[in-house]
């Protein structure tokens, strides 16, 4: 029951509502293969949302993930260049690169005290420009078939659903992993940091380390998402564009509070599924593509407003809470 409280309730209701409308439009959607196709498409955003969740719950933002996804796909295509043997070494390299980007984001934010929105805006620009400079403006090379397996294929012949996409398996494993992580001591420190970093610091949490690790998590998740997206659709010049806002929207739609300290992994994952389901719904309805953003904007605002009325976002101004205002802290805690 408690899982349905707070934002998770709202997003669950919304997701069910969307699925019901989709079902009325296209009853065959819930037969195995179409649903698996949806899962394949939604998996990268789910993974990104998990990463973004870690950062948001610690009280920060990560705007660099869209650029990072794009950069990673382009790096993979250029380095693999169709050569199967290069697949795993390059995936290893991508993970290292993700780790590095996350470390930079985290350390610049925590140790140099640059607001995360600026840090990650900066890395977004840097990654966008650097990768294009490196490839002369448009991606070159090609991904190998082995690389593409993760985003595109899966074991065939599974009863009912036909093919079980690897992307779904990966997303589920990462979701479960993230749930376990949030129950671990690290997860509790992360939540405490996002809730009130001064208090967390007093109780012995090394705030900078906890937050830096969250950024590393986000960048690693973006790397996994890049592997899935590249696998799903191959290389195009536009890959990854705008994903950071979609990921943040997904997380907030799930009821995770910007500013940190509240929300669950499950909520973020449900938020991501809702966003993807919404896109699918628009398409199933033959809604003119041009009007889709308007509907998306209205639904997001309405859903978050509804959730905040339910009481999850009692103090929206806490979005950008100052780190050290003892008085405000006391007020906050007395309200909860």
């Amino acid at each position: 029951m408690s899982a349905l409280r707070g934002g998770t309730g709202t997003v669950t209701v919304l997701l069910v509502l969307i699925f019901v409308v989709i079902a009325t439009q296209n009853p065959s959607f819930f037969e195995g293969p179409p649903l698996m196709a949806f899962a394949k498409k939604a998996a990268p955003l789910v993974v990104l949302a998990i990463g973004q969740y870690l950062v948001i719950v610690s009280g920060e933002f990560d705007l660099s993930v869209g650029s990072l996804v794009g950069a990673q796909v382009v790096i993979a295509a250029r380095l693999i260049d169709g050569d199967q043997a290069m697949t795993y070494p390059v995936i290893g390299l991508m993970l290292l690169f993700g780790l590095l980007v996350g470390l930079v984001n985290g350390l610049v934010t925590t140790l140099l005290k640059v607001p995360s929105i600026i840090t990650t805006l900066g890395t977004m620009l840097i990654l966008f420009g650097a990768v294009r400079y490196w490839t002369g403006g448009a991606p070159t090379g090609a991904l190998s078939e082995d690389f593409r397996v993760f985003g595109r294929h899966g074991p065939d012949g599974v009863p009912v659903i036909g093919q079980l996409p690897w992307a779904l398996v990966i997303a589920v494993v990462l979701t479960v992993g993230a749930i376990l992580l949030m129950r671990s001591p690290y997860g509790r420190s992360l939540m405490a940091t996002g809730d009130n970093d001064t208090a967390a610091a007093f109780s012995g949490v090394r705030v900078w380390r906890v937050r830096t690790l969250a950024f590393v998590g986000s960048s690693l998740m973006a790397t996994v998402a890049a592997i899935l997206i590249g696998g799903f659709a191959g290389v195009t010049a536009q890959v990854g564009e705008g994903l950071e806002f979609t990921a943040i929207t997904a997380v907030v739609l799930g009821g995770v509070v910007l500013g940190g300290g509240r929300g669950t992994v499950v909520a973020a994952v449900l938020g991501a599924l809702t966003v993807e389901a919404l896109f699918t719904l628009f398409n199933q309805l033959y809604l003119p593509s041009t009007i889709q953003p308007t509907a998306q904007g209205l639904i997001i605002i309405a859903a978050v407003a509804y959730a905040s009325r339910r009481g999850d976002l009692r103090l929206p101004e806490r979005l950008r809470r100052r780190p050290d205002h003892p008085n405000e802290r006391q007020l906050d805690s007395s309200r909860r």
Partner: protein, 404 residues
């Protein structure tokens, strides 16, 4: 509190229902609706459809261009030569040519810009021009207006080449450049003015869209379904392609399922095509630009459906897929070699040689018959390179295009 909660839930629900209702709503009068039932009555948007221009472009496809057949970038269709003696300078080998580029934000422009830079190298070697400077506006009209103004104010440019990012909005800036007295060359997209010395462009968007649509009409049985994939709305060269296709599909027996905007993103293309395939057959794909065509084709593979008849572009990953899978396909071309012509024209103008006032370059789609030839010519080239880039005789070939 409670009331507003109900209100909000209502609003969210209402939005969903309203979205749902659009399915039953009558066809949008301006044809912006993607409703599948009305495919037969497709009429192009008045705003982007100019019957006279459409007819002219279609006719130009069959006109033999003037100029050397092996140098299509020097050819011109029905040129009206203008005298440029007033612009001739004494020492063209020291001339400084300035180029205001809209952007290099897509592979087509990247390929073209490399070709242009190599052409500049050739011209400098020949002593036709002295030096070259470019600025890039990253698709920002306002930035490009500043860029052009900066060239004019600097007073260093002996000729200004402009590839406008948007036709309507760059018109005042191009006019300012013309007024400064240096020769101005505009290419690719035009402007609403004829103040420049020459405007260089391939035949145009209508011809592109028509080549693609005609091919689908010829190669699909009446009643077949066609899905149109477009990049984004409101860009004239792309809107013209779609307007021409609408005109042709409207007169055909094909059933157009609708169109989708994809922003050229492979993941979106694949997802949208997959969804259409879940709901029924798709026999043909029309695209206004082909760089995500392979992702669209993969959706058919993954759904276990036969490949559609497809109109892509002369982009290499698509052409290679076409060859490997033996597709029924066409590669409409928006001649990438046009990037050579402006710098050559600038050199000609500074030497006082005549140039066409409107320099219309040939624009010939890649068809089944010449697929092998173009694949062969571009065998070293990477994906997202354009087969008709026309730079094979330039210095730095092929490295400049291979190692980007």
């Amino acid at each position: 509190m409670r009331a507003s909660r109900v209100l909000l839930a209502g609003a969210a629900g209402l939005t969903l229902i309203l979205s749902a209702c659009t399915t039953d709503a009558p066809e949008d009068p301006d044809g912006a609706s993607a409703d599948g039932e009305n495919g037969g009555e497709l009429t192009p948007d008045a705003e982007w459809f100019d019957q006279a221009e459409f007819d002219a472009q279609l006719a130009q496809r069959d006109i033999e261009p003037e100029g050397p057949a092996d140098e299509p970038w020097m050819q011109a269709i029905e040129p009206e030569w203008v005298d440029t003696a007033d612009f001739a300078i004494d020492d063209p080998e020291d001339a400084h040519v300035c180029f205001s580029n809209a952007s290099v934000s897509n592979p087509w422009r990247v390929t073209g810009f490399i070709t242009m830079e190599q052409q500049v190298e050739a011209l400098v070697d020949e002593g036709r021009i002295g030096s070259f400077d470019s600025s890039d506006a990253a698709d920002d009209d306002n930035q490009q207006i500043s860029d052009i103004q900066a060239f004019v104010d600097s007073g260093n440019c002996d000729a200004i080449i402009i590839s406008p990012s948007t036709t309507a909005t760059l018109t005042p800036a191009v006019e300012t450049a013309c007024e400064s007295g240096v020769p101005v060359v505009v290419f690719d997209r035009g402007v609403n003015s004829d103040c420049m010395v020459t405007f260089i462009h391939p035949i145009g968007g209508y011809a592109y869209g028509a080549d693609a649509a005609d091919f689908l009409v010829e190669n699909l049985d009446p009643g077949s379904t066609v899905l149109a994939l477009r990049i984004l709305p409101g860009v004239d060269v792309l809107e013209h392609r779609w307007a021409a296709a609408q005109e042709i599909f409207g007169d055909s027996e094909l059933d157009v399922l609708g169109f989708e905007f994809t922003e050229g993103d492979g993941a979106q293309i694949k997802d949208l095509v997959s969804q259409h395939l879940q709901r029924g057959e798709v026999n043909g794909i029309w695209m206004d630009a082909g760089d995500g065509a392979v992702a669209g084709l993969e959706a058919f593979e993954d759904a276990g459906q036969p490949y559609p008849v497809i109109a892509g572009e002369d982009e290499l990953s698509f052409m290679r897929k076409w060859d490997e899978e033996g597709l029924t396909a066409i590669g409409p071309v928006y001649s990438n070699f046009q990037w050579r012509t402006p710098v050559i024209a600038a050199g000609m103008i500074l030497a006082g040689e005549e140039v066409p006032a409107e320099w219309i370059l040939p624009q010939e789609p890649v068809r089944e018959d010449d697929l092998d030839e173009y694949l062969d010519r571009n065998s070293d080239m990477p994906s997202l390179h354009y087969a008709k880039f026309g730079g094979e005789d330039l210095p730095g070939f092929p490295e400049a295009w291979v190692d980007r």
